[in-house]
């Protein structure tokens, strides 16, 4: 599968920053460069944020793709509205999108409000495995599929707001223009790489419903010179409920539920999923999980810092109608708003298919781990000593990748048994010697 998170080889220095920050231990340094293990990467963008050399980037569509279609529709994520200093009216942003070359704008916030109506219906009328987990964040969905396979059944089965918006946007545009659906280009303005991957390789849909994804940062830059304060067209068709989806807690508060939990930031999401697994959160009906800090406003393709963007979103929501979109009752159960395929568990952590084999490997890993220094220094190119032991037993690395092991071996040739003789100064345990 193609990932939106990629490495620019020429910029990578082979340092260990990203391997230690990756929440799924998906990166190794090999031959002086970071390499991403595709099966483990969830496109959360953490490595893009932390790389000191800007060697990690998100791949997205170039704006020139607009020329490939006769008619184009922009799907702005609501987080876009939080990027602008002194924005008085969301219509300035929506009008700006028309000025930079889109023929039409369909707010993802509208799709979000429709999805909230569907979720309210599911929670009230249908049977589901509690807690129902939002499937709006594709990085979280991938995390659950690979690391918490038991909870795949808890994921909401409906498509994401951007997909709901895309389906409506294409239908309406075809009707308005008389063009064929494929002559219409629907482009999402994305705050994060996870959604780029979800658009180009949707694991849950038979066909793509969105034609491409533009980076929010890139669109922002273009918008700045094309937004006007006068003659602002009246395009806004969403309310507080839809716009609020940009920040953590927005989705939950649109559901009017007593027992819900909103969690943002990938490490916190992992902690909470562990607790759900332990049966500790059985009273929670709905779990809203977002991989980025503060929700989608924390995506790594945004411009503004997440806290400022969140405050701006809250400010913009003041005075807006609660919600402007719903679906007629007969549409709430429509199959076209369901994922085509159930989310599949795809456990990438198991050591072997056969359990006896896996047990044997685990024991080899434990034995090797006991011999490694336990410093988790990352010099071997894996995030920690345990990961190196796993990689060695799985055949992806050698124990000689551990610089301390090599030094130890050299030292044993010279017959010294004191570890302080071969460890560099910061790691020595004995009393300071006069040099």
């Amino acid at each position: 599968m193609q990932h939106a998170v990629t490495l620019m080889k020429e910029k990578c220095k082979g340092c260990t920053t990203c391997i230690k920050q990756c929440p799924t231990e998906a990166i190794r340094v090999r031959r002086g460069r970071a390499t991403i293990i595709d099966e483990r990467c969830i496109d959360c963008g953490q490595c893009i944020r932390v790389c000191p050399h800007n060697a990690k980037k998100a791949v997205y569509d170039p704006l020139t793709r607009l020329a490939d279609f006769q008619y184009t529709v922009a799907l702005p994520a609501p987080s876009l509205y939080g990027q602008f200093h002194n924005l008085e009216d969301i219509n300035q942003v929506l009008g700006g999108l028309l000025n930079i070359g889109f023929d039409h704008v369909y707010e993802v916030a509208k799709g979000a409000e429709m999805l909230s109506a569907i979720t309210r219906h599911v929670l009230a009328e249908e049977s589901f495995e509690a807690p129902l987990i939002s499937s709006a964040c594709p990085a979280v969905v991938r995390l659950i599929r690979t690391r918490f396979p038991k909870m795949v059944g808890n994921l909401a089965r409906h498509i994401a707001p951007m997909e709901l918006a895309a389906i409506h946007a294409r239908e309406e545009a075809a009707e308005r223009t008389g063009l064929l659906p494929e002559q219409i280009g629907i482009f999402f303005i994305t705050p994060c790489p996870a959604k780029v991957t979800a658009i180009h390789a949707p694991g849950h849909l038979h066909h793509r419903v969105i034609d491409g994804a533009f980076s929010m940062a890139e669109v922002y830059k273009k918008l700045l010179s094309h937004m006007r304060r006068e003659d602002v067209p009246d395009l806004l068709q969403s309310g507080m409920a839809g716009v609020g989806w940009a920040v953590s807690g927005g989705e939950s508060s649109s559901l009017s539920l007593e027992q819900h939990l909103s969690v943002d930031g990938i490490e916190h999401v992992i902690q909470v999923l562990e607790e759900v697994e332990d049966g500790k959160l059985s009273h929670v009906q709905f779990l809203e999980l977002g991989a980025c800090n503060q929700g989608c406003v924390g995506g790594c393709l945004t411009v503004e810092n997440p806290y400022v963007a969140k405050a701006r979103i809250r400010q913009l929501m003041k005075g807006m109608p609660v919600s402007q979109n719903t679906l007629p009752p007969e549409h709430l159960q429509q199959e076209r708003f369901l994922s085509d395929k159930l989310f599949e568990a795809n456990s990438v952590w198991q050591l072997a298919e056969d359990r006896a084999d896996a047990l044997e490997r685990y024991q080899k890993i434990s034995a090797l781990l006991a011999e490694l220094p336990g410093l988790d220094c990352g010099s071997c190119g894996t995030p920690c000593c345990r990961a190196l032991a796993e990689d060695v037993v799985q055949g992806f690395a050698s124990e000689d990748d551990c610089i301390f092991r090599v030094r130890e071996r050299m030292q044993s040739i010279t017959a010294s048994r004191n570890a302080d003789d071969y460890l560099p100064p910061p790691f020595r345990k004995g009393a300071e010697k006069d040099e």
Binding site: F148, P149, K150, D278, S347, A352, A358, L359
Partner: protein
């Protein structure tokens, strides 16, 4: 094939540590390709047992023995012991203090929950000496 042994010491003053040990066991069981239902049952038993040790016995130790078709947890503490095991097994029976209850624990569901999620549960307890829980979970897959 030999058994795999994992060992944890549970600090009696640290509620947070209980979660850490059970999440480590879950990570190992997932690597060993145990089905998710089994992983979940072990996690629940382990977590409830550890919380009991923290609340009643000021901590203790957990030994986990993993075999291909059986997972055994042995939770040992040197706490006050359980005077009446039958009573302790009743749902809702609790000796926890008001302070503990206000923290959301002590609802009297710990041991019944372990019983429900395990295949075998053996409790050896002596008042003033301590309690040892031996829990067996047989994988469903």
């Amino acid at each position: 094939m030999s058994k795999l042994h994992l060992y944890y010491e549970i600090d009696g003053s640290d509620f947070h540590a209980a979660g850490e040990a059970s999440s480590d066991v879950k990570r190992v069981l997932k690597q060993l390709n145990f089905d998710s239902d089994t992983v979940r049952r072990v996690a629940i038993c382990m977590y409830e047992g550890e919380i009991n040790m923290i609340i009643h016995a000021n901590g203790g130790t957990v030994d986990v023995w993993v075999e291909e078709c059986s997972i055994e947890l042995v939770l040992r503490d040197t706490g006050p012991g359980i005077p009446d095991i039958e009573q302790a097994m009743q749902e809702g029976f609790s000796t926890a203090t008001q302070a503990i209850r206000e923290l959301g624990f002590g609802a009297g569901m710990g041991l019944p929950n372990i019983k429900r999620h395990s295949d075998q549960l053996h409790i050896a307890s002596e008042v003033g000496v301590g309690t040892t829980l031996t829990i067996r979970v047989v994988p469903s897959g």
